[in-house]
């Protein structure tokens, strides 16, 4: 399959700079994370060597406390719960939006315009899109004052902001885009005659959706799911800001360790997170060949 050596050389020269950037700022740093995760540390510096202290301390008490759950397991369960909720909402909303754009909008320029409308917020700041909920969900926000005005509640709801609810709402708000794009990409390639054929063969709308459209959209659904799940698994900013810095999460553990300058402990937690994320991705990517989908 490979062409002449000179062709290969030109290609390497072209691809080389990008590969170098990834090597210097992604691959090598990952190696350092793994290496430092086995180092020792004290209050103010990390000490080269080989110890499993970072890992050991992370799982401290996990066996002793059985059948109760130790901190790290509780934290991961909490993170996975947030992950699942966000995934479910982004999937349903993302699929509906992508379906509408792909099948119900006939004019090409209308399709581009509406897709752009969904994409523009992605190019704006995530922090601002989080802060933006404050005037709506705060104690004196629009939702609370509206509900009080209507007499539904007599004192402001506290769980609207700086809570698990706010985190999931914000994550859905920020990342549904990552579901819409790949699902739209899959849907737009479906041969419309297949759907017509399903109807002609007597399938109802739901049957067509479930047995024809969704199976054909599977690659997009899987890619979107990988994006959303990995983002939420490693998130510490949305969970921090919208959770009022009170909620525990996998990414927050790393941040807390870093703020205490315990680099080896942070690295050990990064490796744990990386392994779990990798397991989820490889389970999902069994379902689809990413490279064929571009």
């Amino acid at each position: 399959m490979f062409k002449s050596p000179s062709k290969n050389l030109v290609a390497w020269l072209q691809a080389g700079p990008m590969m170098l950037v990834f090597a210097a700022f992604f691959l090598l740093p990952l190696c350092f994370v793994v290496m430092v995760s086995f180092w020792d540390y004290n209050e103010y510096e990390m000490i080269p060597g080989f110890t499993t202290r970072g890992y050991y301390e992370s799982f401290e008490g996990c066996v002793a406390q059985l059948p109760g759950l130790c901190t790290i397991l509780k934290t991961y369960l909490e993170t996975i719960k947030l992950c699942f909720l966000t995934w479910a909402f982004t999937l349903v909303i993302g699929f509906s939006v992508a379906y509408f754009l792909a099948f119900h909008i006939k004019s090409k320029s209308m399709q581009i315009g509406l897709s752009l409308l969904c994409t523009i917020p992605f190019w704006t700041s995530n922090v601002i899109r989080m802060i933006a909920w404050i005037p709506l969900l705060g104690r004196n926000g629009l939702v609370n004052s509206g509900l009080m005005h209507m007499g539904v509640i007599d004192k402001p709801l506290d769980w609207l902001l700086f809570s698990e609810f706010a985190v999931v709402l914000s994550l859905v708000h920020l990342f549904t885009f990552f579901m819409v794009v790949p699902i739209f990409n899959s849907l737009i390639r479906i041969d419309k005659r297949l759907i017509e054929a399903a109807y002609d063969a007597g399938a109802t709308g739901w049957q067509t959706l479930w047995n024809v459209v969704i199976p054909l959209a599977k690659p997009g659904i899987v890619i979107g799911s990988i994006f959303v799940i990995t983002i939420v698994m490693g998130d510490f900013i949305t969970i921090g800001v919208m959770g009022g810095q009170q909620l525990a999460a996998a990414g927050k553990i790393i941040e807390v360790r870093l703020n205490a300058l315990q680099f080896p402990a942070a690295a050990a937690n990064a490796v744990i997170l990386l392994v779990i994320t990798f397991l989820i991705i490889s389970a999902l990517s069994k379902l689809v060949d990413i490279r064929k989908e571009l």
Binding site: M1, K7, N8, V10, W12, Q14, A15, P17, M18, M19, F22, A24, F25, F26, L28, P29, L30, C31, F32, V33, V36, I93, S96, F100, L101, H104, L116, C118, W123, T124, S125, N126, V127, R129, I131, P135, L136, N140, G141, L142, S145, H173, I226, T230, G234, D235, F236, I237, G251, I254, E255, L258, F263, A267, A270, L273, L274, T277, I281, L294
Partner: protein, 295 residues
Amino acid sequence: MREGRPKSFYILALVFTLYVLFLYGPMFAIFTLSFQGPDGGLTFPMNGLSLHWFFKLFEGTGIVDIGAAFTRSIKLGLVVMIVTVVLSVLAGMAFRKKFAGSAVLFYTAIASLIVPSIITSLGIALEFRLIDDSVHHFGGSWGENWTTGMGLFSSGLGAHLTWTLPFGLLIMFAIFNRFDATLEEAARDLGASPWQTFRFVVLPIILPSVVGIGLFGFTLSWDELARSSQAIGAVNTLPLELQGLTTTVTKPDIYALGTLTSAVSFLAIFGALFIMNLLQRRQSRHGSDAGKGVM
């Protein structure tokens, strides 16, 4: 398909409208609130209408040095944009030749996109700490004066590129998957050198999408937070300052900052879209079928 609009159209149109409202509603709420009067608070109702909080922002009272962070973020964003465009176009060209090692680069890019940002950021921070330690240790007298290699345009730039380059590469894939290679062959048959083929045939066709890569490069860098968090060094970018402010938010000046930051984003977005539109019009005006190969 069916005659008239099916019922599902109306339901989904409603869902879509609600989704767009959900996307933009909160943002417009803070844009509006940033024009609060001097006595206005963090929530509605509006207490007068003024530019008070914008002036407050630039006076720098109480709030961090926004002007400096603003300039830093703009500079970094522009550098990230240029590097992203150049490296993505180069690598995109390479991928058309099926070279040995292409799979490695492809999967590295995908991994860089989906490995949690905090891990990449931590790794870069560790890398630069280890470099600093080695310089101190082995650098002799020169090493004693060394403070750190970390900075906006070393570790910070690298961190942002691990986020923007995968998008750039994926966009190049999307471009070339729809690209008509016979145009290049025609150019070669007419005696064009590889550079001429690229410069006068390929580049004009892909240019609108290349502007799109630039848009991704700038806006993703301008708003980047998670990867910058550990890897930016002593100074802060605008999103980091903004995040710092969220814990002590009491006055609408944070909304003013949000409005200002978004204004830059929107300027970049609409500027890029305008240029893309212009380029596409020019392409179709020049009458050839050259544009038909591109999305």
